[in-house]
């Protein structure tokens, strides 16, 4: 029972402002900037890792780049400036969200294209359907039982 109470409450209070008691030192910065640093680091790829963000990785380069992000936030740079800083050094590869440009148009437009093409084909096919066989035809029932019976004669279709 206590366990239940214990788990109900955190969810409800999860978003209340965090108390600032004799707190641990947040790594160098105020909560708003720290949140920004997390958001940025979460979108950048760690180049030396297999497939991890620099937020998640403990590789040295990731640690260094996290430090860069914090320093640049402290220096008053905007998120875009920091992203550009990274791209200038490591290329678009560092961005987990690829920039929209000529070469990525298909990537970004693809899902919408699939969606509309899918529904276009669907609706056209449904409209065009000629008067197909009547619903659950007797033949079909018959054929089903014939097949189930293992009859080898192939009905002409």
């Amino acid at each position: 029972m206590t366990r239940l109470a214990r788990i109900v409450l955190p969810a409800l209070f999860a978003l209340l402002p965090l108390t600032a008691a004799a707190d641990a030192v947040p790594t160098d910065m105020d909560p708003a900037s720290a949140a920004r640093a997390v958001k940025l680091a979460e979108k950048l790829r760690c180049l030396v890792c297999q497939n991890q963000t620099i937020l998640d990785s403990n590789a040295e380069l990731a640690v260094d780049l996290r430090r860069q992000i914090r320093e640049q936030i402290a220096a008053g740079r905007t998120d875009d400036e920091i992203s550009t800083y990274m791209v200038n050094r490591y290329g678009d590869f560092v961005l987990y969200q690829p920039p929209v440009k000529a070469t990525t148009l298909l990537l970004w437009g693809g899902p919408a294209l699939l969606f509309f093409a899918g529904f276009f084909v669907l609706i056209r096919n449904l409209r065009r359907r000629p008067g197909a066989e009547a619903s659950l035809t007797a033949e079909e029932h018959e054929e089903a039982s014939r097949l189930l019976a293992g009859d080898n004669r192939k009905p002409d279709q």
């Binding site: 008691a21 979108k43 297999q50």
Partner: protein
């Protein structure tokens, strides 16, 4: 000696697979009963040899026979016995062996559970599975033999990758492969039907339980994988859209579409062409997934062996199997009938829309996964496609799908009308809107996205309740009698759909309300997250069976009252490698508390990550519900009755012998 037996068994299995992949299929085409009759016994023989080979490999791991290269590279004498066993599939060779083993299990299952099918059909189905087995066995023997010897014999093994030394490793790969490979059955049925020119309602009826079973296993496999990543990688993520995750997710999406499409083909005889294509696609994506993982064409957290020779082999095999199937499809599919008539507004159309959305989602995942490869191959630069992209494209595609999920079960076959649906669902809609608007306040802060996510979840639940009520109205008896009156496949669907709702709640709440703090803590410091206070009590040295660990001790309190202790660890395995982070997690129905240790910093302080993840367990709970929905549907009387009735038909066995 044992490895040689294993190797020999593999060779014999290869020969049997070749027999299985040729004679019964030719026999079915030329009507040679003796060859048709080979299918079952050869399948069973194939299973016997594959299980022998696999057993030999497992045995070599358990007894730590380091004269086997595979064992020496992926195991260690200090490794606990259950991880030595799991190390059987810890390497590239071992996981391909597991693949073949799973395929043999499915082949055996089909050979045993197909008594009610025409022998000719069984011959083709088992033959197709035999061909797939043949390809993979050849791959094992030529490029990835798990029994290769090593001389001189090392004193000890190099150890299993520490990331894999986890209970998740014991359960995740077998479950995942069981599902992955299980789609081979639906695939084989589809190819057999194309070969025989008999693509009809009965074909759909036979494929359906196998698809459901494979899909359920795949759901569990994906769920365990996600959960494993969550607690083992130390950063609290549960899905990263990593190529390997996508490789298992794409067959799942197509498998989900296939399940729904099979329902229509079975019940209404409609869109057979489409269903058979889906059956081919589901397994093809499993194969492509295997290629992506095994060839190293994509960087991923899972990147194992990367050897272009292996890649070329699998690619060649893909071209034969998938290319061959699609060519067969192009040639044979037009002969198939059109199916029965239905209106533009009908359950059929809704299920088709479901298919379009699921396929668009699959296509998007495939596009995102392979796009970096496309650009690179065209020399247009290197990019990364990660979670921000997938989140951005996936949610808009899933939203109408979840919305349709509420309506679909209430729509009638053949014809339905909007006013009818609106009449049935208006209260469900109103209630879910109101709840979605109000509930986020109770969680502390109203956020539009949370409200939106909850709307979808409540909508599914409310519409499902309406569907149940509608169903029961027709039966006049007590409540429990009414429940029992509905077929289990119906309850399976209800459970799976509610599973989606539970999953959506989990995603919404975690994304909306998770809190994370990345702090530098000295001993005695406290940090508060989600209303809980964590005190860093100190660190101690621990010795595991094959690792040394630094264990942090944390006391969690809530408003001054003691809650519990949490002990995250940093492990250094004796056999070397990167230190591992083992997070300490207090898991609960309404959320998790998660502590993981980062790096030590000056003055005895540590970088500590503390998370509060509300409702995260619902993610996995939702997937489990879906899987159990599948199992429940499988236990439906209809399938069993169907089987009995088929047996009862006297001509069945006689005619085919």
């Amino acid at each position: 000696m044992i490895p040689e037996i294993g190797n020999f068994a593999l060779i014999l299995a290869l020969l049997l697979a070749l027999v299985l992949g040729t004679l019964p299929i030719i026999g079915a085409a030329r009507r040679i009963p003796a060859w048709i009759g080979l299918a079952r016994p050869v399948s069973q023989g194939l299973f016997l040899f594959v299980v022998t080979a696999w057993g030999c490999l497992a045995y070599s791991f358990i007894v730590s026979d380091f004269s086997v290269l595979n064992v020496a590279t992926n195991s260690n004498s200090q490794l606990p016995v259950y991880y030595r066993f799991a190390a059987t599939w810890g390497s590239h060779e071992g996981s391909m062996m597991l693949w073949v083993f799973m395929l043999a299990i499915w082949t055996l299952a089909v050979s045993l559970k197909s008594r009610h099918l025409p022998d000719e059909m069984v011959a083709r189905v088992l033959g197709v599975m035999g061909l797939v087995s043949f390809g993979f066995l050849l791959f094992l023997l030529l490029t990835s033999n798990p029994f290769d010897r090593l001389f001189p014999v090392p004193a000890d093994g190099r150890d299993l990758n520490p990331l894999l030394q986890d209970p998740g490793m014991v359960a995740h790969p077998p479950m995942l492969y069981m599902g992955y490979v299980g789609f081979s059955v639906a695939f084989a049925f589809a190819i057999a039907a194309l070969m025989g020119g008999r693509l009809d309602a009965t074909w759909a009826r036979w494929s359906r339980p196998w698809t459901t079973l494979a899909w359920s296993f795949l759901s569990i496999g994906i769920m365990i994988g996600s959960w494993w990543a969550y607690y083992t990688l130390g950063w609290g993520g549960w899905w990263f859209w990593d190529p390997v995750e996508n490789a298992s997710f794409m067959p799942w999406l197509v498998g989900t579409a296939l399940l729904h499409s099979l329902a229509v083909t079975e019940k209404r005889g409609a869109f057979k062409n489409w269903t058979v294509l889906l059956a081919i696609c589901a397994f093809s994506l499993s194969l492509i997934g295997t290629f992506l993982v095994r060839s190293g064409v994509l960087t991923s957290v899972h990147a194992f062996a990367t050897d272009p020779r292996r890649g070329v082999f699998i690619l060649g095999f893909l071209i034969v199997v998938i290319g061959g199937s699609l060519a067969l499809y192009a040639v044979r599919a037009p002969k198939v009938g059109l199916g029965s008539r239905f209106d533009l507004m009908s359950r059929e159309t809704m299920l088709l829309a479901n298919n379009v959305l699921l396929l668009a989602a699959t296509g998007s995942v495939l596009l995102g996964t392979l796009y970096p490869l496309f650009l690179d191959a065209l020399n247009l630069g290197k990019i990364s496609v990660g979670p921000p992209y997938f989140d951005a494209v996936f949610v808009p595609l899933m939203t109408p799908l979840v919305f349709l999920m509420g309506i679909g079960p209430l729509a009638r076959w053949k014809q339905t009308t909007l006013p009818d649906l609106w009449h049935l669902l208006r209260w469900a809609f109103a209630i879910s809107v109101v709840m979605a608007l109000v509930v986020p306040f109770a969680a502390g802060e109203w956020k539009p996205l949370v409200s939106f996510g909850l709307l979808l979840a409540f909508w599914v639940v409310a519409a499902t309740v309406v569907s149940i009520r509608e169903r029961m109205r027709s039966v006049r008896s007590g409540f429990f009698a009414q429940i029992a009156r509905q077929p289990r496949s119906y309850w399976g669907m209800v459970l799976a759909h509610l599973g989606i709702a539970v999953f959506v709640v989990g995603v919404t709440m975690v994304k909306g309300y998770e809190t994370e703090r990345d702090v530098k803590m000295s001993i005695g410091d406290t940090v508060s997250v989600g209303g809980y206070t964590f005190r860093f009590d100190g660190i101690s040295q621990q010795r595991g069976p094959n690792y040394q660990a630094i264990r942090g001790a944390f006391t969690v309190t809530r408003k001054g009252a003691y809650v519990e202790n949490l002990y995250p660890e940093k492990r250094q395995y004796n056999a070397g490698g990167m230190p591992m982070t083992n997070a300490a997690i207090d898991s609960g129905l309404l959320g998790d508390l998660y502590v993981s240790m980062g790096e030590p910093v000056d003055g005895g302080a540590w970088v500590i990550r503390v998370y509060s993840k509300p409702f995260i367990t619902w993610l996995w709970g939702g997937f489990l519900m879906m899987a159990f929905g599948g199992f429940l549907a499988l236990s439906d009387r209809r399938y069993r009755v169907g089987a009995q009735r088929d047996v009862a038909l006297p001509r069945g066995s006689a005619a085919a012998r």
